[in-house]
Each structure stands twice: as structure tokens, then as C-alpha cells.
């Protein structure tokens, strides 16, 4: 067992490196970066401007700018601020949304009453709420949080509802026939049964939350005191005409979003040992 399993592990790493899929993926990204670089340099080398893409600062410039920016505390402060807003808004959305969704799923009267207003408000994009939110809440920070909350809230409720209602009624009946109380049913069947949907809703909601935080930072934090955050970083870089820094910001946000989603998936993985979800 031991010797052959060790060989298997070495074999796995080697096979990972020679795996066709991975090699192709790496090749495609390399080609993409090269085309991008060439597209930008085209103007310098040949005097002809490649339409659209030719204006985007080359990867080489972006990398150089990034290596400068990492040393500036302002950059990391943006990360911290954005992450904070995302985390806070997201958490509140989960804390309010999950119970709300579950309540709607289990109690049909509650659902009958509260789902319609929910559905009526849902098509209004969260960002459309920004001005109203600014009017309503005393501070800018709170107004951003509110809009962030809205974005994730809709998603999580819909997912929880769908997930809870799709639990096979047989499970509930089986439990009842073994003497479960209403509370038991909720805790031992409905809650775990809805967990996969909760995590899917959370992962999707996370993406939306980032979009909203970014937009809110760009729209409202643009010139104000409580600005800051990666959105503000991008916007002010743009205002200052430092386009390669804009791209640094873009990639940073992409990374941040990816890290958050991965975190959620990881937590989901841990809390649902019975399912290999993602």
C-alpha cells in the first residue's frame, strides 16, 4: 500500500504537468497575453493603431505599475476597505435573507403575503437604489452597505426558496413517521437540505456584491471623504489618466472577487461532507 501509493502521488504530479487540458489552458493564456502586448505595441512598431484593443495598456506596463503599487499603503488600504464593505453587506444579506427565505419556504401564508412585494421590487437593479439610498441613510457608508445588501439579498432568498421547496417530501414524511417534531424537521432536514442552495446563492451573491460595491464606490465615493476602496482606486486612476494603473485595479478586483468566491466554496465544502458540490 505505502510504496505504490507514493508512486501514485508522484505519478499524479507528473500527470498534472503533462495533462493535455492544462497545457492547452496555459498555452491559450500565453497567446492571449502575447496578442495583447503586440496589439498595444503595434502603434509603436508599425505606426498603425489596432482598433479598440490597441489602446489598452500592455501587460508589460501593467506588471511594472503593479510592482510599484504594491509598496504603497494606499493600495492595500483599498483592498481592506472594499473587502470590509463586501463582507459586511454580504453577511447582513445572509443573516436577513436566509431566515426570510426559509420562512417563506415553510409557511405558505407568509410566502403568499411577502413574496409578491419582494418580486415586484426585485427587477429594480440594486444600483438604481443608490441615489435613493443616499437620500435615506445618514452616512454614505451606510448607503453603500444598503445597496450591497440588496444585491445579495435577492439572490440568496431566491436560492433558499428554490432549494427548500425542492427537498423531497419523502424525507419529511420519513422523519415524521419516526416521531420528529416541527422543530426537529426544520433543524435536521430542511436546514441541511437547503444548505447546497444556500451556498450556491452565496457564491452568486458574492459576485453581485462585488459589482455593487465597485459601482457604489465609483459613483458615490468618487470625490468624497469616505471614499477609498478598489472602485475608488480605479476611478481616480482613470481621472488621473494613469491607464495602466486602472488595469492593475481591474485585475486586483477580479482577484479579490475570486478569492471571496473560493472562500465560500471552501466553507461550503467543509460544512457539507456528504456532498461534493463544486
Amino acid at each position: 500500500m505505502t510504496q505504490s501509493s507514493k508512486n501514485k502521488k508522484d505519478g499524479k504530479l507528473k500527470s498534472l504537468l503533462t495533462d493535455l487540458t492544462i497545457r492547452r489552458g496555459v498555452a491559450s493564456i500565453v497567446i492571449f497575453v502575447l496578442l495583447w502586448e503586440v496589439g498595444f505595441r503595434f502603434h509603436e512598431w508599425f505606426g498603425v493603431m489596432v482598433p479598440f484593443i490597441g489602446k489598452i495598456d500592455a501587460p508589460s506596463l501593467v506588471v511594472m505599475r503593479w510592482s510599484e503599487v504594491i509598496y504603497k499603503p494606499g493600495y492595500w488600504e483599498s483592498w481592506y476597505l472594499s473587502f470590509g464593505r463586501v463582507f459586511f453587506g454580504f453577511m447582513v444579506a445572509q443573516l436577513v435573507g436566509i431566515p426570510f427565505g426559509l420562512l417563506m419556504a415553510v409557511n405558505k401564508y407568509f410566502r403568499g403575503m411577502f413574496f409578491p412585494p419582494f418580486e415586484i421590487l426585485r427587477p429594480i437593479p440594486p444600483l438604481a437604489w443608490v441615489p435613493a439610498s443616499i437620500i435615506f441613510w445618514p452616512t454614505t457608508e451606510l448607503s453603500i452597505m444598503f445597496v450591497t445588501f440588496l444585491g445579495a439579498f435577492y439572490t440568496i432568498v431566491i436560492n433558499v426558496l428554490g432549494g427548500a421547496r425542492s427537498i423531497d417530501i419523502q424525507y419529511l414524511r420519513a422523519a415524521q413517521s419516526m416521531g420528529a417534531t416541527q422543530w426537529d424537521l426544520f433543524r435536521k432536514i430542511i436546514l441541511p437540505g437547503t444548505l447546497p442552495s444556500i451556498f450556491i446563492g452565496a457564491a452568486v451573491g458574492m459576485g453581485i456584491t462585488w459589482e455593487v460595491v465597485l459601482a457604489a464606490e465609483m459613483i458615490s465615493g468618487g470625490g468624497q471623504q469616505s471614499g477609498g476602496g478598489l472602485g475608488f482606486f480605479i476611478w481616480s486612476s482613470y481621472m488621473g489618466g494613469v491607464m495602466d494603473q486602472v488595469i492593475v485595479g481591474m485585475i486586483s478586483i477580479g482577484l479579490a472577487g475570486y478569492i471571496s468566491s473560493s472562500l465560500i466554496r471552501y466553507v461550503g465544502h467543509l460544512s457539507m461532507p456528504w456532498k461534493r458540490m463544486f
Binding site: P117, P125, M243, G254
Partner: protein, 289 residues
């Protein structure tokens, strides 16, 4: 070979609609909905207009908004009867239409190929997945630099958002098709293009339409944001602009209109999907899938 029921054929069309409505009205559902919406509107009204509680009084209440909306000579300049209301709606809708059309036209074929050919997916998926996490709005500055004018960057942003969603869902749709269908097609003597047209495309259709509904929502989301940041005309612009000049009633009107229009476009996509997937409709009608 008779599948006739004892009392004749089941109702269809208008009769079916009336039958279902009749049944629905006997349940508590519609009344609860009425109560729920009523509670919401009423509390909104009480808090903002009647009792004028902080901070609710800063926001225009439902009565105020509706009266303005129906006013032939609106105080703040925009209502159901003014021209610019419709111009704004039209501009936003036109942009959505273009963005959605391009995104679907590019995204569906790409998704189909990615789902069908592992080789193709290996080469295209990594690049897509690297770009996808970047929030659409982060592209705003780049879009402004790349494209001239106002219109193109706005449409570009909505298209981008919609494209990612459509491509991904289409790909998942193809990957969700039961292996048996591919095998059945194979052992009936199909060539590759037969499999593509007869298995891949129809098989992925349910996922494609779910994706399209999500993608039109995402397109609206991005469009509104783009209009708010750098626009002229459009519902997003209308919201931002009326906020800037303190025309709050108009602002709320724009928000609600936006919600309504967004809902209609989503419903249209859903209806189109149902039309194209007749086989599902009929199977569901029989009580099973």
C-alpha cells in the same frame, strides 16, 4: 387507440386560462398577495407621507409618486404624459436589445462549442474564466478609452455582462445532456454535424433559456450602472439626473419604471423559451417530465 377522457377533451387556450384562474381564486394565494402588497404600500405611505418619520419623509411616498405619474402637467416635469419619459424608456430598451442580441449571438455558439468539444473548451475556457471575475463596472474606464462617444461603451458593458452569463450557461447546458442521447445518435449512424444539430442544440435549450433570463437581468444591471455613471438619456441616467437636481419624485418614478420594464423583458425571454421548447410544455402539461 383512444385517450379520450370520459367528459371529453381537456380545456385549452382561453378556457384553460379561465379554468386555472377560477381555481386560483379559490385558494388564499391571490388574497394574501393583495394583502402583502397592500401592507407594503400602506406602510410605505404611512412612513413617508403621513407620519413623516425620519428618515422616511425624505423619500417621496407612493401617493406622491403616483399622482405625479398620472399628472398631465407634472410638477417636476416627467410623467406618463410627457415625451421625455418615453424617450428615456426607449433609449434604454434599444440599448438592451442591441446588447442582448450581440451577447446571445456570440455567447450561445461559443458555449455550444465549449460544451461539445473538449479541445475547444481547453483552449477558450481558461481565458474566459480569467476575465469573468472582473466586475463589469471595472471595465468602465477602459470602455471609455476604447470606444468613442457615449453609446458604444454603454452597450459594450451590457453586452459583456450578458455574454459571460450566456456562454457559461450554454456550456453547462451542453454538459448536462445525458450521455445516452449522444450514444443513441451515434449508433443510429449520425455524423458529427447531425449530433450537433439534433442533440447538442435542443438538449442544451433549457439551460440556454435559464441563462438568457439571468443574462438579460445582468444586462439591465450593467446598463443602469453605465447610464448612471456616464450617460445621456436612458432610465439609469434619468434616475441619476433627477437625483442631482432633487427631483426625487421623478427619481422614484424612474426606479419603478425600470423594475417594470426589466420584468417585461424577462417575461418575454421566458415566453420565447417556452415556445421553442414545446416538448417540455406538453410533457409538463401531462403532469410529468
Amino acid at each position: 387507440m383512444s385517450n379520450q377522457s370520459v367528459r371529453g377533451r381537456p380545456p385549452s387556450g382561453l378556457n384553460y386560462f379561465l379554468y386555472k384562474s377560477g381555481k386560483a381564486l379559490k385558494t388564499p394565494m391571490p388574497y394574501l398577495a393583495f394583502i402583502g402588497i397592500g401592507i407594503w404600500l400602506f406602510s410605505y405611505f404611512l412612513l413617508s407621507e403621513y407620519w413623516k418619520i425620519f428618515p422616511f419623509y425624505k423619500v417621496p411616498g407612493p401617493v406622491e409618486v403616483v399622482t405625479e405619474w398620472l399628472n398631465k402637467n407634472p410638477i417636476w416635469g416627467t410623467s406618463l404624459f410627457t415625451e421625455d419619459y418615453y424617450i428615456n424608456i426607449w433609449v434604454s430598451c434599444r440599448r438592451i436589445f442591441i446588447a442582448f442580441a450581440i451577447a446571445t449571438g456570440l455567447g450561445v455558439p461559443l458555449g455550444l462549442f465549449m460544451g461539445w468539444s473538449k479541445k475547444f473548451k481547453d483552449y477558450t475556457f481558461p481565458v474566459l474564466e480569467t476575465l469573468r471575475p472582473i466586475p463589469i463596472l471595472a471595465w468602465v474606464p477602459l470602455a471609455i478609452v476604447m470606444f468613442a462617444g457615449f453609446e458604444t461603451p454603454i452597450i459594450y458593458l451590457a453586452t459583456l455582462a450578458s455574454f459571460f452569463v450566456t456562454a457559461l450557461n450554454t456550456m453547462l447546458g451542453v454538459e448536462s445532456i445525458d450521455e445516452s442521447y449522444f450514444r443513441a445518435a451515434g449508433c443510429l449512424g449520425s455524423k458529427k454535424h447531425h449530433v450537433f444539430l439534433n442533440v447538442v442544440v435542443p438538449g442544451a435549450l433549457p439551460f440556454i433559456f435559464t441563462g438568457l433570463q439571468i443574462s438579460i437581468g445582468v444586462a439591465w444591471f450593467s446598463l443602469v450602472a453605465a447610464e448612471m455613471i456616464s450617460g445621456d438619456y436612458g432610465l439609469g441616467y434619468m434616475i441619476m439626473d433627477s437625483y442631482m437636481v432633487n427631483k426625487y419624485t421623478t427619481m422614484v418614478m424612474a426606479m419603478l419604471t425600470l423594475g417594470f420594464v426589466g420584468w417585461i423583458t424577462s417575461a418575454m425571454v421566458r415566453a420565447a423559451g417556452n415556445r421553442m421548447m414545446q416538448w417540455r410544455e406538453r410533457a409538463l402539461g401531462q403532469g410529468g417530465v
